[in-house]
Amino acid sequence: MPTNELAGNETTAAKAATGIAWTGGADGAHTGTSVSLRSLTRAFGATRALDEMSLDIAPGELVALLGPSGCGKTTALRIVAGFEFADSGEVLIDGRDVSAVPASKRDMGMVFQSYSLFPNMNALDNVAFGLRMRKVGGMDRRKRAAELLDMVGLAPQAGQYPHQLSGGQQQRVALARALAIEPRVLLLDEPLSALDAKVRLQLREQIRTLQQRLGTTTLFVTHDQEEALSMADRVGVMRAGRLEQVADPAELYSRPATAFVAEFVGTMNRLPAELGAQPINGASSVTVLGTTVPAQPGGPDSGPVDALIRPENLTVKAAAGGNGIVTNRTFLGAVTRVAVRLSGDTEVSVDVASTLALEMAPGTAVEVGLPATPVLVAPRAS
């Protein structure tokens, strides 16, 4: 399909977004809607899809729920949408409990994972559908729908039927359709997962740009960490129906609260470590690769532990008689990821500047070390 299908739409989108004064959300976050999930619990048989989950979304904010499949993120979104109901807990929209309000009365725009356009309507009629349900007159309705289509860069495709559109175009029409009703909250259920990599990347940026311009409070569900980190104001990492951590992307990456978050977001090395006897500056100490560094608070106090360290936070240099041997290297552009086998059969990945990696062919003896910064400690994985 067209690889360049989104090229040049940025300007169209920018123009159109500033042009639609009628959305009422164009002037920023303070007009948006707040969403609160309070202790949501939902069980399907014996499995708890949601377990006392709570989350607050500020007006105009884009929060991504990230987690492996089956972690409950989609269930949470569907409860907000009104397609599922919680066993206990409540959903507050602008402080009001909407648990008893049916989906059709909640004013939420939703974009689905699978293609959800109505096959019997062309793009324009699809976008106009929600307006029609709101009894907006024919002329007005078509004008608004055309504006929305222009906003997602698909004005020329207004008369085409869904089966004539590419996957990326279909999801953009679906986005326009969801935004056409001026939703109080925009719900995105893995809208990009069916698309190929290039289209996904472009659509990601387009969604984020539109969302920020319109100031629509948005809940975004994904299993793709790159998507979550690049688009969201805050990311909530979920596991087994619970939120492990909610934080902005930078914090989530650099200061993960739990071992699960640390390993789910980005690449993480697990190195055998030993908890030290004497504290450093009040924090407990840990010895990794012969270096004693402070441990991040919140880890275990005793027992066998691992240190969790990102590839870019380790150092490596060629050294005869070093503590490891290079097994592989992957060129990633400016940096090269070097795989090293340490004594004790521990494999670690280390990122080094590509120029320095030239001398580290597989089989080279190297010395892996770490700077004296606090590291995350977790109970040893069996």
Binding site: S104, F112, M133, R134, Y161
Partner: protein, 283 residues
């Protein structure tokens, strides 16, 4: 009936060169099979035409009882169709959306009218039907609804499998549409092909059913043909050929209209039992 099932492969004309090779490679045994099938289906028709003679066709329409019998059958077909649709469309949609586990059971139940002989069915019906209904023609329509159920269910089920009912319903709901609107504006238009398939089957069934009608003592078109056969066999045969022609034309019309419609919106081909799913859309 076999003519209605259109092979999508033959619908699009291959490029000239390909057509040439294809014609050359068309093996002889295929011609033999085609010929045998042709003889099997067309010979009785030809014999009937020979027997009736062209003169009989002229007098069919003025024959006593012809018009009223045909009109009765057409009305029965319409009423049967209406009741079947009102019952089966919401039922199959509901089962697909909310009770997918019941689908297997429903499939089994809907096959029963085919398995149980019509004679058995009608005797049962006559036992339990209230007297007030038993004397009207509309009882026959109710019986036909039972007979039509297997065909209608299968056609609608196939149509629903070809679309993502759950997502479409939820999308429609999130945009503010209620149940009725969703069904009328979103689901039914995408089931048009399936509904037309069901219609074809129902019409063909009602216009050809004999056992129930005759045991109900109603003079429907097939019953009239059999009765009149004893009076004037030639006209009776001419009438059946005429009925065959009308039914065939009607079914062709429906198929053509439905196929045109579904091609516009990317729907499946109209066939008797299945609706081919929409092509998977790439990026």
């Amino acid at each position: 009936m076999a003519a209605l099932t259109k092979d999508p492969g033959t619908a699009t004309a291959p490029p000239p060169s390909a057509a040439g090779t294809r014609r050359r490679s068309f093996p002889a045994w295929r011609w033999v099979i085609l010929l045998l099938a042709g003889i099997y289906f067309l010979l009785p028709l030809y014999a009937a035409l020979r027997f009736a003679g062209f003169k009989a066709f002229g007098s069919v329409f003025t024959t006593q009882g012809f018009g009223s019998a045909l009109w009765l059958s057409v009305r029965l077909a319409a009423v049967t169709w209406l009741i079947t649709m009102v019952l089966m469309v919401p039922t199959t949609i509901y089962v697909h959306l909310r009770l997918p586990g019941v689908r297997r059971l429903l499939e089994t139940i809907t096959i029963l009218p085919i398995v149980i002989p019509p004679v058995v069915l009608i005797i049962g019906v006559l036992q339990v039907m209230p007297l007030a209904l038993r004397s009207t023609v509309w009882m026959l329509a109710l019986e036909y609804v039972v007979l039509a159920m297997p065909f209608a269910y299968r056609a609608l089920d196939a149509g629903l499998r070809a679309i993502d009912v759950k997502t479409l319903t939820e999308a429609s709901g999130s945009l503010g549409a209620g149940w009725l609107t969703t069904m009328w504006r979103v689901l039914l238009p995408n089931l048009r092909t399936a509904v037309l398939s069901a219609t074809i089957l129902i019409v063909a069934l009602v216009l050809g059913e004999f056992t129930m009608a005759s045991l109900d003592l109603q003079q429907t078109f097939p019953v009239w043909i059999v009765l009149f056969d004893q009076e004037n066999a030639q006209i009776s045969v001419a009438a059946s050929i005429f009925a065959l022609l009308v039914t065939w034309l009607f079914l062709m019309l429906i198929t053509v209209v439905a196929t045109r419609q579904s091609r516009r919106t990317g729907g499946g081909e109209v066939t008797l039992f299945t609706v081919a799913p929409r092509e998977t859309i790439g990026n």
